[in-house]
């Protein structure tokens, strides 16, 4: 406000400029924040189903989070790390059987229909609970959603469901879709509406040319005051990672997120004038580098062998050489940037090949004449260059302690089938994701009883009744302090028994033109709505 009154002269001056050059729209606001413009972003994939309410994954969110909004978004400053979106207030009952959401008023869908609590009720019961990969777990006990008025939704659970879990999962699992679009469909997951998104977000999905680009247009009726600042966002499909760096340098694109620019290029890129490197903005979607273990192998069912493998891995080398310092070594199954749950009070496995060799000898697997104890099949996940490189490293690290690991490379589909359906592996390298609460996508990595075929779940045949009981108890514990303590115990138990071995945890890197402002200003920035992102012309 002050700025505007002070800059009357500037305003006059700029309006003169506007008259002089009609090609510069909204120049008058340039001093506060640049408005308008087209932001061109690199995209590395085109998801088959673009509906974030059904497929809660980062590849989908990257594009669709600008169109369809959740009830709340992650935030650096907000209370409990949250910031309101479609809900303005949320409160859980002390018995864990209900959660009440106050919804934002005056919000309309992109087709002009008003947004009401009926949309939330429909999304929760018909989409999140029944269709969504993560919502199925979080809302497993959701029984009904009461809508006493248009702007209140009360979630009712059949069994106590911790409010802490609901709160932590709001940004990821609560993308609200329009009831009037999907109601009455037999098969929501197969609906063409999943790729012609109607949302409440700051941008509308205008166009998708397969293999070329997605184009998002400003939603003029957006509820956020003055927002969004951009006129358009264009996602250019660049599946080749090396191409993104070149396109940034040439000014063809202005932003590449999710480490599309290879880590090895960052040092060079950071010196290019007009480009900025951001390592913030991924705190709420921490990836973890884990060694999955097939406990059906008799050698690997022996705790001493698993401990030996943990001692054989030099985590510092992994962080420094494979991730070039853009990562942190792990102590356990919950990452350090989840301070609510993290504890460092767990058994550690420092790099110590001598100790590893001794452990293997103790376990009765002595070296043969050729220096080998036994052979293993190692399947590195193909999704990231780093997971493949770690596979190469792990093979060498295991060779030092006399384990002959043979690498088997597969494409994504074959890898998922081999590891998560056919269990045709001994060790696998997986990039697992921590999503704000251990119950969302972390406990499933070690709990027994998941049917074959579910990716990123315990498919190594590990079964520990004590650990299962602990997870089940945490899932019903409403008291925040008690639940948090259970998850501390959970970390200790996992670190002691090593159902899998956590090696490192990493966030991604965003590289953007210096003209783009408000980049990486929340912990899920790349997959948030970008309403406040601006581009100087």
């Amino acid at each position: 406000m002050v700025q505007i009154s002070l800059s009357r002269r500037a305003l006059l001056h700029s309006s003169a400029l506007v008259m002089a050059s009609a090609a510069l729209p909204r120049y008058g606001f340039a001093q506060a924040v640049a408005k308008g413009g087209r932001l061109i972003v690199a995209a590395d994939s085109e998801p088959r189903n673009l509906n974030p309410a059904i497929v809660a994954s980062n590849g989908v969110f990257f594009i669709s989070s600008k169109v369809i909004e959740p009830l709340a978004e992650a935030s650096f400053e907000g209370k409990d790390g949250l910031e309101p979106r479609l809900a303005t207030n949320w409160e859980g009952s002390s018995d864990g059987l209900s959660v009440t959401f106050r919804l934002r008023e005056g919000v309309v869908w992109h087709d002009g229909t008003p947004f009401t609590s009926a949309d939330v009720a429909f999304s929760a019961l018909e989409v999140w609970k029944k269709q969504q990969n993560l919502g199925r777990l979080v809302f497993a006990n959701l029984q009904a959603v009461d809508t006493p008025d248009d702007h209140t939704a009360v979630f009712r659970f059949s069994r106590p469901t911790p409010f802490q879990l609901i709160r932590n999962s709001l940004p990821v699992v609560t993308s609200v879709v329009a009831r009037h679009v999907f109601e009455g469909m037999d098969d929501i997951a197969a609906s063409p509406a999943n790729n012609q998104l109607i949302g409440t977000g700051p941008f509308k999905l205008a166009e998708h040319k397969p293999g070329e680009y997605y184009r998002l247009e400003r939603n003029d009726a957006y509820w956020g005051e003055d927002k969004p600042y951009l006129d358009e966002i264009v996602y250019r499909v660049l599946p080749d990672r090396a191409a993104a760096a070149g396109a940034l340098e040439a000014g063809e694109i202005q932003l590449a997120a999710f480490s599309q620019v290879p880590l090895a290029d960052l040092e060079r890129i950071s010196k290019v004038e007009g480009l900025k490197v951001y390592s913030k903005g991924y705190e709420a979607l921490t990836y973890q580098l884990a060694v999955e273990i097939n406990h059906r192998r008799k050698e690997l069912a022996d705790l001493k062998v698993r401990q030996a493998i943990a001692h054989a891995i030099d985590k510092d080398f992994v962080v420094k050489t494979i991730f070039l310092g853009y990562a942190q070594s792990s102590t356990g199954i919950i990452p350090q940037n989840a301070p609510e749950f993290y504890t460092s009070d767990v058994p550690a496995y420092p790099f110590d090949p001598a100790r590893a060799n001794a452990l293997l000898d103790e376990a009765g697997y002595t070296k043969g004449a050729d220096g080998k104890r036994f052979s293993l099949k190692l399947l590195p996940a193909p999704y990231f260059g780093e997971t493949r490189q770690f596979g190469d490293y792990l093979r060498q690290a295991l060779a030092v302690i006399g384990i002959d690991a043979r690498i088997v490379n597969n494409d994504s589909a074959a890898h998922q089938k081999a590891v998560y359906t056919d269990h045709d592996f001994d060790l696998a390298v997986a990039p697992t994701v921590f999503r704000g609460d251990p119950a969302i996508s972390t406990t499933i990595l070690v709990r027994s009883g998941t049917p074959a075929g579910v990716p990123f779940s315990n498919q190594g045949g590990y079964a520990n009744t004590q650990l299962d009981a602990l997870i089940d108890k945490a899932n019903e514990t409403v008291n925040v302090a008690a639940r948090t303590e259970l998850f501390r115990q959970f970390q200790r138990m996992v670190a002691e028994d090593l159902p899998l071995i956590n090696v490192a945890e990493w966030g991604f890197i965003t590289v953007a033109s210096a003209k783009v402002s408000n980049v990486s200003n929340n912990p899920r920035w790349a997959v948030s709505n970008w309403a406040d992102t601006a581009l100087e012309s």
């Binding site: 090895a264 290029d265 080398f317 494409d411």
Partner: protein, 276 residues
């Protein structure tokens, strides 16, 4: 003997022979100089070439010795190239001889099978085969041979068709030799020389196909090959181009050497034919 002298008279042949000799000795000496697994992590990562005596050609992103990779890679490339060619030639020559000698319906049937293989580009065939069966050294060799055996088969058949009308074949028939014996003992040895000349071209193609397969991540991941070295280096092409260039030079020299060698061989054989 005279063939060797004639071969040595052609400059291409000599150049090819020298290059190939060098490569083969590099491949043979690889385990003498680098007895450890060439994929083992030996030093600091991304060391540029000509800086450290211990790593004359530098190290890659994980700190693996590039020189060790290059030498062991020469072995893998040549081994795959030669093995695949042997398989292709043996199968091709046999099929071609049988087709040409038997004639009639057998010839028709075998040649249609050859056609079927020739329609599909060899590389595509190899790609499909490896992705279905899974990558290992033996599979890669078979995959490359799968696309390469048709050339020798056609050539051998053409040669056999002309040889089987010669007088000495008729004479063999007259003295009552078994047709199979005639085919293998009388016809095949005389049909072989041009097929052998084709062989060196096939080796060059096989080396390139193997490199392309490993570049696409379909080689045996537990072996170091030039193709996989180039693919690894591609990720850091802008910061450490030497990682792709060095194995690339190895590949160029190998293929060049083989081509020159086959050129010389072809010339020497042609001269012999003229004289004969």
């Amino acid at each position: 003997m005279t063939l060797l002298i004639r071969f040595l008279r052609s400059p291409e042949g000599v150049a090819g022979l020298v290059l190939l000799g060098l490569l083969i000795s590099v491949a043979l000496l690889a385990s003498v100089f680098f007895p450890r697994d060439p994929l083992s992590i030996a030093g600091p990562a991304l060391l540029p070439p000509f800086q450290d005596r211990a790593f004359p050609l530098g190290t890659d992103r994980l700190g693996r010795d590039v020189l060790a990779g290059l030498m062991h890679g020469a072995r893998a490339s040549l081994a795959v190239g030669i093995a695949a060619t042997l398989v292709a030639m043996v199968v091709g020559a046999l099929v071609g001889t049988i087709a040409g000698f038997a004639g009639g319906i057998v010839d028709e049937a075998l040649m249609r099978i050859v056609d079927a293989f020739q329609i599909v580009p060899g590389f595509l065939l190899a790609l499909a085969f490896v992705s279905v069966v899974g990558a290992s050294l033996l599979v890669v060799i078979l995959a490359i041979a799968l696309g390469a055996w048709t050339g020798p088969a056609r050539l051998a058949r053409a040669e056999v068709l002309s040889i089987r009308e010669r007088d000495y074949v008729a004479a063999a028939r007259v003295i009552g030799m078994h047709p199979l014996e005639i085919a293998i003992r009388e016809v095949l040895p005389n049909a072989l020389p041009p097929v052998l000349a084709l062989g060196s071209v096939i080796v060059a193609g096989a080396v390139l196909t193997e490199a392309a397969l490993s570049f696409l991540g379909l080689g045996d991941p537990n072996l170091v090959t030039w193709g996989s070295m180039i693919a690894e280096g591609r990720n850091v092409l802008r910061t450490a181009p030497f990682l792709s260039i060095i194995p690339g030079i190895g590949l160029v020299l190998t293929v060049l050497g083989i081509y020159l060698f086959s050129e010389g061989l072809g010339e020497a054989l042609a001269r012999r034919r003229i004289r004969a």
